[in-house]
Symmetry: C2
Subunit: 151 residues, 2 copies
């Protein structure tokens, strides 16, 4: 059994469009690439709590988490940073986008535009899963998530 870092990504929908952010030119990793909101688990929090926190920190938006879209594993910047990631489909609730130093631009684009954007290649699986889900799920569908449990 080993410990890993946990990263989250959020695909945020508002009026059939999806939010993407452009990484600042000062970022050491993939500067000026478009991405969705991403973040890492801090302290003792659930990934859903973490992704809501990261969305608010990076964009000022309030969103609700609908369900997970993908899970996986990668090395972030080398083998000393093993990371499990979980990506979530989120829906806009309220607020206006306010970026931090981490991003220089934002856009709301269609799911097809997101799937066609080469920068988003790491997000392709979650976007495909979302496209397939949206063919079947009712508009108001939403998971519940377990509260933090102390066993």
């Amino acid at each position: 059994m080993k410990k890993v870092y946990v990263g989250m990504a959020a695909v945020i929908e508002k009026d059939e469009k999806f939010l993407i952010l452009k990484r600042s030119k000062d970022r050491d990793f993939e500067p000026e690439a478009w991405e969705t909101v991403t973040g890492r688990l801090e302290a003792d929090e659930s990934p859903v709590t973490g992704v809501l926190r990261e969305v608010e920190e990076e964009t000022s938006l309030k969103v609700e988490v609908i369900l997970p879209l993908d899970t996986g594993f990668f090395y972030r910047g080398g083998k000393e940073f093993p990371m499990v990631f979980i990506s979530y489909y989120c829906k806009y609730v309220e607020g206006n986008v306010n970026l931090t130093w981490e991003h220089s631009e934002y856009k709301w684009i269609t799911l097809q535009e997101a799937l066609d954007l080469p920068d988003l290649k790491h997000f392709h699986v979650m976007l495909q899963n979302l496209r397939n889900l949206k063919k079947s799920l009712p508009e108001n569908f939403k998971y519940s998530f377990s509260p933090t449990i102390h066993l």
Copy 2:
């Protein structure tokens, strides 16, 4: 940013029934309680790879992972064991159930029976999400999952 353990749970369906296992009387934690297949991430593997491995180790079954049902955080046996968990809906592919020392019995039960079983209270949220999903998703629905990525 902190490191955590990652645990997985699998709700395995075969012919509209779901597999539950009874923990051995020798287990130090919750002996003789019914549960689904659970396990922990070992080494550098994705949670999907890990859950397939755990299912095979604990039951000898081959299954396919359909999609995640819940994510959360708990302390496993105290604050020194912070754990993120991801539970998955899986479908039986092949094999016969063969248990290890960890479990003494198994049963295939309906989703309603699982929801009514007090032992499965920690699994209630994932089972409810599964019940809601099954109302809408086509029979052959299945996610793709990202391969392990080396950035």
